[in-house]
Structures are given as C-alpha cells and as structure tokens.
C-alpha cells in the first residue's frame, strides 16, 4: 500500500527554504493551513515568495507571514483586508503583484496540468494587460496568461487518509486542491487523519498522488 509520511508542523516547515516559491491555500484564512503557518512564523525562514489569493488578516493566516516579514514577494488577488501588506508594498519592503482571482486560479491550474497557459478576456483594457501577449481567436481578443508553479504548496484539508487522499469541507476548498497540483513539494495540513478505507473512496476530491507529506494537527 502506498502511504504518505505523517510529520509534525516543525518538520514540515524545515523543508521550506529562503527564496522558495510557496503557494498557500485558503481564502481570508478559511481553509488555510494555520498550524503550519504559525510554525513557519516561529522558525523565521524569511525571503519567501508567497503565492496566495489574499494576504488574510494581519494577525491570522497568511497575513502573519507578512507581519513577521517572512515574505519578499507576494502574488495575490486581494490585499485590502491586511493593511500591513499595503504598508510594506509602499515602503518597498515587499514586492506585490496583483492578479485577478480567476486568472490566478487558472494559472495555477495550468501549472499543475501541464498546460502552456490560457486565454482570457479578464484584464483586457486594464493595467493587467501590460506586457502580456494579446491573441485573437475567431475575431475575439484575449490575453495570454501563463502557468504558475511553486517549489512548495502548503494546503489544508478537512479529512486526509493515510494514502494522502483529501476531502476539503465546504468553502475550505478554494485554492487548496489547485495548489496541490502545481508544486514540487506538497504538504497537507489535515484536520483529521483517517485510516485507508475509513472514508468511502468516492468522497475524495484530491488523489493522494499529489500529496508528499501529511501534517497531523
């Protein structure tokens, strides 16, 4: 049976190195791997290139990594509810690239699915189109958006079996299953770890093949 190693949050964050591109799941901290994030803050690795949909709150979730200055760059769709991100961006401490949320999701999906990119109308006629190739298909203009991958993905699942198969409850799904496909090293923080066979296999929406390590909390 192919089982995945179960490690502690301390062991998990030691696998993350300065300058790594780190995708972190969650949406305004819902479905974020909060335990792993807390330990990453404590370890103080720093110089991280974070990819996430939002920088959460200054004191919860991904925002804690910003507040404790662990990030040198952030790619995100929204930073408005964490004033610290904006402050560090304005002082030049943090490089921020804002990406439309749907484009961010699809770029990550492309990265994980071996696609060379995708065409979208989102961003046409706005600052988002700057420096991007425009492609006309059957008379319609689109922006070419390129795939996004990472060195590490830190995701959170509600139930994970020991083979790494994942269930994400309700709105905790968000970017978690996408990011798990697009990184070299995938660490899943499990709310609950179960034996293989304890949950009906049909309920899993992310195959364990994408998961390298399980963090039990």
């Amino acid at each position: 049976m192919q089982l995945k190693p179960i490690i502690s949050p301390e062991q998990a964050v030691e696998k993350i190195k300065p300058n790594d591109r780190v995708m972190i799941g969650g949406f305004m901290a819902t479905g974020s791997p909060l335990n792993v994030i807390n330990h990453l803050v404590d370890l103080g690795t720093g110089e991280l290139n974070i990819i996430c949909t939002d920088t959460g709150y200054a004191d919860k979730g991904i925002g804690q990594l910003i507040s404790s200055k662990q990030a040198k760059s952030v790619k995100a769709s929204h930073i408005g509810l964490n004033p610290e991100t904006g402050r560090q961006m304005n002082t030049g401490e943090l490089e921020v690239e804002l990406i439309p949320q749907g484009t961010l999701a699809e770029r990550i999906r492309c990265g994980g699915a071996g696609m060379g990119g995708f065409l979208t109308k989102t961003g046409l006629g706005t600052m988002v189109e700057e420096g991007k190739q425009k492609v006309t298909v059957e008379g319609e203009e689109y922006l070419l958006e390129l795939p996004l991958t990472a060195d590490v993905a830190l995701v959170k699942a509600s139930i994970v079996d020991k083979a790494g198969n994942c269930i994400f409850n309700k709105t905790t799904k968000n970017f978690n299953p996408l990011m798990a496909t697009a990184a070299q090293l995938v660490i899943v923080e499990a709310e609950q770890v179960v034996e293989v066979g304890d949950v009906e296999a049909d309920r899993f929406t992310l195959p364990g093949t994408f998961v390298d390590f399980i963090v039990a909390v």
Binding site: D54, H78, P100, G102, T171
Partner: protein, 223 residues
C-alpha cells in the same frame, strides 16, 4: 437622508433588477445588502466567488455557525437548502463562462462608455481586484450600486474614468440614491430619478452627459 436610508434605497432598487431563478454575485460592502430585498419565492441563488452557490439570508448565530462556510469577505454565512460548494477554478469557470446572470458591485468611478474603476487608487489605496475583474468581464449583467458622489461631493459618474480600470465597457446599469442610469451605445440614459431630487440636481451631480428618457420615472418612495 441618513447613510442607512440612502443605502437601503439603492439596494432596494437594485433588487428589483434581479430576475427570478437567476444566479447572482454580490460584491463586498453595500451590494451584499441587496439580498435583504429579494423574496424567497423569486428562487434567486447567490454565488460567492470563494466557492459556493446558495448563501442564505438568515443571520449566523451560535446555533447555525459553521466555520467552514464563509463568504468572499471571510465572514461566516448561512446557507439555503440547495447550497453547493466548489473550488476556485470551478468558481471562476462559473464566473468567466457567463453562468452568472447578474453581478452587483460598488465603484470608485464609472463612465459613459460603461468603464468601471473600483480596485486601486494609485499611491493611496491598493486593495487589489480580487474577483472583480473576472466578474465584471464574465457576468451577463453588471449593476453598479453606489452613492452618486464621493465623500468630497464630487461626481463618480464621469465622461471617462480617471482611475485605472477594472474592466472596459462592461457596466450595464448604475443605481445611486439619486438616479437609475442605463449605459447604452449612445452614452448614459437617465431612466429614473429619486422622488426627492430633480433632473437638474442629477445633472449637476454627474460628470458625464446624460440623455433623459422620454418616459422618465421616479423611484425611492420615502417610507
């Protein structure tokens, strides 16, 4: 008119635009209040771009709180019985794919060509676009719900937006406390004015040329 009455008037009027049986996405802030004016028998479903269709209108209490169910503002929400959940990729397939019938958003500026600016004030406020660019591009109907002027009393409806755009030429309807304005191929058409204003006052508070509908109506009866 106090802020709450003014907002109520706007969102109540916006709610009249929503079609029975449609799928609607409400932006953060004032647009979320639109849901309070939609009756259950209309069968309207509300999407939240973080991954659900079927936000309920019941308040969240200790009894129905589920920390795994939040909206795009990160706040816990209730659900309707037919709720469904999905990841961000499918959520934006729904949005970009034209499956959302109407979206209601706020604006910093909106203009005579249906251009919208609502995601950045360079050097001052950079919240990011979140899902707004995808929503405005993909939804069949884009309704702007906002106060007619900014806090300095300056028009937010302009001939051309000055701020960086969220999307080009996508806005269909603008609803403010003073007016209902359609974006047409020939510019802005004033179709309704509030009961407590005049066409002259609306024109004065608007930074773009307004055509006046021949059958101009009134809205916003004071209750």
């Amino acid at each position: 008119m106090d802020k709450q009455a003014l907002r109520n008037r706007i969102v109540k009027r916006v709610a009249e635009e929503l079609k029975p049986g449609s799928l609607v996405n409400l932006g953060i802030g004032m647009p979320t209040l639109v849901a309070n004016h939609v009756s259950d028998d209309m069968g309207i479903l509300f999407q939240s771009e973080n991954g659900m269709i079927g936000i309920g209108r019941d308040a969240v209490t200790d009894d129905n709180l589920d920390v795994d169910i939040t909206n795009a503002g990160g706040q816990p929400v209730s659900t309707v019985p037919e709720v469904s959940y999905f990841d961000s990729s499918l959520s934006f397939a729904i949005i970009r794919g034209g499956h959302v019938d109407s979206t209601v958003l706020g604006a910093l500026e909106v203009d005579a060509e249906g251009n919208l600016a609502n995601w950045i004030i360079p050097g001052k406020m950079v919240p990011g676009m979140g899902g707004a660019m995808d929503l405005v591009t993909g939804a069949k109907q884009v309704i702007i719900a906002m106060e007619h002027c900014n806090k300095n009393g300056e028009p937010k409806i302009l001939q051309r937006c000055n701020l960086p755009l969220t999307a080009k030429g996508q806005v269909n309807l603008i609803v403010t406390e003073m007016a209902v304005i359609e974006v047409t191929e020939n510019g802005l058409l004033l179709t309704e004015i509030a009961v407590d204003t005049t066409v002259e006052q609306v024109i004065k508070a608007t930074g773009a040329e307004l055509k006046i509908a021949s059958d101009l109506k009134t809205f916003g009866e004071i209750e």
